[in-house]
Each structure stands twice: as C-alpha cells, then as structure tokens.
Symmetry: none
DNA sequence: TTGCATGCTGTAAATATATCCAGTTACAGC
DNA sequence: GCTGTAACTGGATATATTTACAGCATGCAA
C-alpha cells in the first residue's frame, strides 16, 4: 500500500470512522459533506486514488461498495490482505476496453482453494445470459477463469469481441476460420471476421460454482 | 433481543455473512435473491420484524442501513475448526444402507469456504447420471449438500430411497403425495408409495462445483 | 369464528447513489 | 513556460435502493 497524502488519509479515516459508527461504509455524498466538498465527485476522485494506492477496494456500481484493505482492521475482518486469503475476485460487468480484472469490477471475493478445479482459476466471472445452458453453464453462475494466451479446438473460453465479453466454445476450421459456438440451440454461433472483429482471448474456463437456493 | 423464527434467523445470518464477505450490509434485493424471495418487499418485512425484535437497527432511507445489534459482538468472526481447514469431504458412491458420510466414502477433501454458497454445505456429493441436466447439474459435478430434516416444495434435495441415493426436485401435491422430479425429459418422475418405499431426506442442495477441462 | 403474526408476490414511486463529463485552481519539477 | 498530480466545482444521467400500497395464504391463539 502506497503512502497517502494528508487529504487522502482524512478520507480514509472518515471511511473507517463511518464503518465503526454506522456499520456500513459512507457514500460519495457523505464523504463530501463530512470533508466539506461541494461535489460528491471530489470524493469519487479521492476514492479512485485510494483504490489505486491499494488502501481500499471499490465495488462496481455497488452502493457503499468501499472496502478497507489497509493496515486497519477494526471491522472484524479476518486479517486477509493478500489475495490468497481474501479469495478469488468475482468480476461482474466489464466495461468497454478496460482490463477484465480492473479493481473497479471486483464485486466481492470468494474463497476457493487452488485444488478445487483441475487447473487453478485466476478469477471468477459472473455468467450473463443463457447461451451456454446446453453444457450446464447457467445465468448467474460463477465461471472460474484462468488467464491464457491461446486456446485449443473445442475448449470453452472467455472472449472479448470489440467491447463485449462472452463465454463460448472455440471452433477453428481447417481453413483457419474461427467460430464461437453457443451451447444452446436458441443462439447462433458467432462467426469471426478477422478483417472486422477484434477477437481477444481473456482466458480459459476451468470451472463452475453455483449457489442453489 | 427476542427470539427469532428460523426464517428470521436465516435473514440475520445472511446479513452477518454479507457484512463479513463484502464489508457492507446487503440491500433488500440482495437478501431476497439470496433467500429465494421473488420480491424485495419480503426482505423488507423481515427486516422490520428483526428491528422490532431488537436484532438489528434500521437507518431510514439509507442504502444498506442495516446494523447488527444482536448478541454477536464480533461481526466478521468466523469459526475455523479443523474441518474447515481440511475442506469439505467429497463423497462418491454410497453403498447400501450405510450412512452417507461414512469415512469409507470420503474420496478427498476440497477447500471451499462457508461463504461461497448462500447456505454453507456440509459435504460434497459427486453427481451420477444425467437426470438433472435440465437445471445445469451434470454427471460428475460436485453437489454441495447441507444436512436437513425437512424440505419444502420445489427444492432440490438428496434423497435415499431404499438403498439408492438420488438428487431430485421435491414435489408434494395437495393430497400429500410425494414425487421426486427429474429435471430431464428423458427421465420419469419417481412416485413415492409410502407403503412400499422408505424415503429419507439426506440433505438440501446448496450449490454446484464443476471442473472444466 | 375472529383476529393476529408470519411470510410471502407484484407494482410503482420516491429517493439515494455511483459515475461520467467538462472545467478550474494550485503547486512542484523540469 | 510546460507537464503532471492533487484537489476541487457543477451538472447530468443511469442505476440502485428504499418504501409504500394492495393483495394472498397459513397457522395459531382467544
């Protein structure tokens, strides 16, 4: 964790105090009010800086999604600052062009040991949509993803096509044409046109975790 | 603090777990999703009851304004007994008449933290067969099972009928007839004849873990 | 039988929150 | 003077969240 400026420290302290006083982290507006800012955006900028410096973690689009990861540990959290103990990051929506593991996308963490999947996952991706139900990957499932640079015929991968991230089966014909196959008869395959589409492999699917209610 | 009903306790527990897992209390919608309610209002009603009973405090018009005031003094505390360290036992085939958790059946252990599934699993069962593929439970999957004494309409459970252990959806008609529904059109439901069959509930399905090769 | 608590569904509205954009000011270092 | 960082203002917008209202079903005690 990098050193904080005095102002940043005040923001950090206010988050800690609010957590202790109310049981939940503050909103941007609350931080602004407490520190005398006229705009919540000032708080937002501070939070991003704190996140960049490793003092906090920010949940994406989550109200009060601020998590202290600095030295202080009065929330009752099991002291777990290194990734292994904190668990695998769960990634929700991924915005255009940004790296999939940007801290802003981490919604929470789930502790899954390395030996659960045959190949250890680097992170978990929340599955959206029904395009892979044919092989038991359902909407809302957590997909264990291992970063990789290449993928073989028939493997399930996480791909980025332009701005969208999708889970599909990788199919390459003898002529080199690439198709991403949906495992659901209601969905058509995605034919990749190398001159038009930019296809990026984000990683390989190594496992599934689902909670049943 | 007045005594809580089992349902209310589950809500309380979920708040505690969310606090530990994310650093902030859950929203009404998150509670509803986790406990299987279709309406956030069900959660709201529970929260008001918990507040009235003194288990929590509610902030007015405050997002995530839930505060635990029950007996738990350390919010993030998590009992780490030996079992948790060794991981959940993975049960393979179960022989006739023997208890499902007999030591002979434990093939290995897998470390999955309590907060991975909405409700913590007691053990993992290796799924055999395709009878539940319709809801994404495939042959070879590890099914998280939580021991329980009763099951409600529509829940997925692990049952023992005579000598066989099976995973099915529990359906009870108004007349009291019990059927175990396979979630695959190729398999027929199992109609339970109380005079013939001895039906034992081994536990409730709380989650799925699958390794993708 | 009546009344009451529990435990839900579903919809709508009001409000809270996060997040983006376009600027501004100040200061330190080159 | 130029560049980069820190620290803001103000406004707009999309989404998240709380909360109210109108019901329905069950079980339990008076």
């Amino acid at each position: 964790m990098q050193k904080l400026t005095p102002k940043q420290q005040r923001v950090y302290d206010y988050i800690r105090d609010t957590l202790a006083a109310t049981g939940a982290p503050p909103t941007r507006a609350e931080i602004a009010r407490a520190l005398g800012f006229a705009s919540a955006n000032a708080a937002q900028a501070h939070l991003r800086t704190l996140a960049r410096k490793g003092a906090i973690e920010l949940g994406s689009r989550r109200s009060r999604g601020i998590r202290l990861v600095g030295a202080d540990d009065d929330v009752g959290e099991r002291a777990a600052n290194d990734e292994a103990d904190a668990g695998l990051p769960v990634v929700g929506r991924v915005a255009a062009g940004e790296p999939i593991l940007a801290i802003e996308h981490i919604e929470r963490r789930v502790r899954i040991a390395d030996d659960v999947f045959t190949s250890p996952a680097d992170y978990l991706l929340t599955v959206r949509g029904d395009s892979m139900t044919g092989i038991g990957i359902l909407d809302g499932d957590l997909l264990g993803v291992k970063s990789a640079d290449d993928i073989r015929q028939g493997q399930i991968g996480v791909f980025r096509i332009g701005d969208e991230v999708t889970v599909k089966r990788f199919i390459q014909s003898e002529t080199g044409d690439v198709r991403l196959r949906a495992e659901n008869p209601d969905y058509a395959d995605i034919q990749i046109d190398p001159t038009q589409d930019e296809l990026v492999l984000e990683g390989l699917a190594v496992g599934i975790v689902r909670s049943i209610h």
